[in-house]
Amino acid sequence: APAVKMAALSGSGAPWRRGWLPALQLIRRGSKAVTRHWKAMHFQRQKLMAVTEYLAPWPAIPPSCLAPRKEAAEEDNGYVRLLRRQVEEVFRDNRMIAVCQYNSMPDEDVVLMRYYLRKHNIEVKFVLNEIVRPVLSQSKYKNLLPLFVARNILLVSPETKAKEMLRVLKGVPQVNLLGACIDDTILSRQGVENFAKLPSLEASQGQMVGALALLPSQTSSLLQRGSMHLTALLDQHIRQLQAGETGSPAEPTPAQSSGAH
């Protein structure tokens, strides 16, 4: 091979006459394969690189036409489960649950309000909407869902003391009553006020019993009315006869009238 190269170099005539190997001759020309600079590619090679470029796949339906995929939030957070359980217990154990809008108050006012409500056995609970909403949507309290929007608190109590609660809340302008669920009955703000105006349960029960017992109490007097009337008439008649007859014995006529009963 070196002999052939020397022959090709020294020959001034046509190189193909003396065994000219193009592979070896082409190596002498230009730079080596690996260079520090970007070596210029042969045009054919450039065309080859252009033809064999990567073409990305495109979906049949453009993604902007499809609805966006909503990834469901994972609920394996134990803290979330605990809070949900607490909310369920609250709804189960308490008779009165009032939902109020809560605007930011000074902390001492919050403490005072909680104290006054505690005196009437009403507890104040701060809840997060993102926990309460799923719990409510799956229970029977679906209609309370529109209330749980924006910042709110729950006033819960095992007894139904709406009057005292309203009195306390009247003194606190930052907490506004939105609605309540008393004894599984959903009431609006107006409904709660009407409920508060009602007499207490014992008094209304007594009234109801009195109203129901009114008619039966009159039954015995109704039944005895006829005979009592007759007795009264006969007594009057006797008195008239006694007043008319002064010396005659009045025994047989009272005996006859008493035997007639």
């Binding site: 394969a33 690996v34 690189m49 033809v51 064999t52 470029e53 803290y79 997060l128």
Partner: protein, 244 residues
């Protein structure tokens, strides 16, 4: 991270929805259980000249720069590292720069770093300045290490996150003579997966590999025999990342 609830309480006419914070989701701290620290956490000092300096001057052999790397392509001990995306030679100045920058930026108690390249072993000759061509090969000037694309240069690990390590690794990577990026184990795996996916879902029926192996249109005249296994992704010392 607080979540705003403006989607629930959409404002009515003339109102503004104030975003509120929702429940805070606590993130568990990372688990560093399976990490073993080497004896010396800092990078070892690399010699300029090997212990037994070479007597015989070696030919240039630029093929140790060309093509993909066959060694040190995967992580050994550390979790993060610098990946070379091109071929090149690292000399003692680069080694010192890497050693000092990483040594300065990392905490030796909670992090460690290891070399994935050997000390300079390849002699490079230089002729003295201002002489004409000829007169034989020049004397050995310095030693270098050859690095091919796809090789890890350093590995960093320990009780640290990628975000902590990335700034100084990018700083080092920018100063290297070849393109390099900081990368983690997951990042490397993802990169390989993406390359594989690209290769599989390429819509172009004509690939470099197919045309050259079948010698379509006589392309082998204009293409090196090395391109049969380099497959158009490598050109000289450069690695063409965008090609399939």
């Amino acid at each position: 991270r607080p979540r705003s609830e403006s989607s629930l309480c959409s404002p009515g006419p003339g109102g503004v929805a104030v975003p509120r914070a929702g429940l805070k989701k606590y993130v568990l701290p990372p688990d560093y259980s399976g990490i073993t620290f080497p004896e010396k956490t800092k990078l070892k000092f690399m010699d300029k000249v090997p212990a037994v300096p070479k007597v015989r001057r070696e030919p240039r052999q630029l093929r140790d720069i060309r093509g993909p790397s066959r060694e040190a392509t995967d992580f050994i001990q550390g979790q993060y590292g610098i990946l070379a995306l091109g071929g090149g030679y690292l000399h003692w100045g680069h080694f010192e720069m890497i050693r000092l920058t990483i040594g300065r930026s990392m905490d030796p108690k909670s992090m460690f770093a290891i070399w994935r390249v050997p000390a300079p072993y390849k002699p490079v000759t230089r002729k003295s300045l201002g002489h004409r061509m000829g007169g034989g090969k020049g004397p050995i000037d310095h030693y270098v290490t050859a690095v091919k694309s796809g090789r890890l240069v350093v590995e960093v690990g320990g009780h640290c996150e990628f975000g902590e390590v990335k700034p100084f690794l990018t700083q080092v990577a920018r100063k290297l003579p070849f393109p390099a990026i900081p990368i983690s184990r997951d990042g490397l795996q993802q990169m390989r997966q993406e390359e594989e996916e690209k290769r599989l879902n390429n819509q172009n029926p004509w690939t470099f590999e197919r045309i050259v192996t079948a010698n379509m249109l006589g392309m082998r005249k204009y293409v090196s025999p090395y391109d049969l296994h380099l497959k158009g992704r490598y050109w000289g010392k450069f690695f063409l990342k965008h090609r399939v």
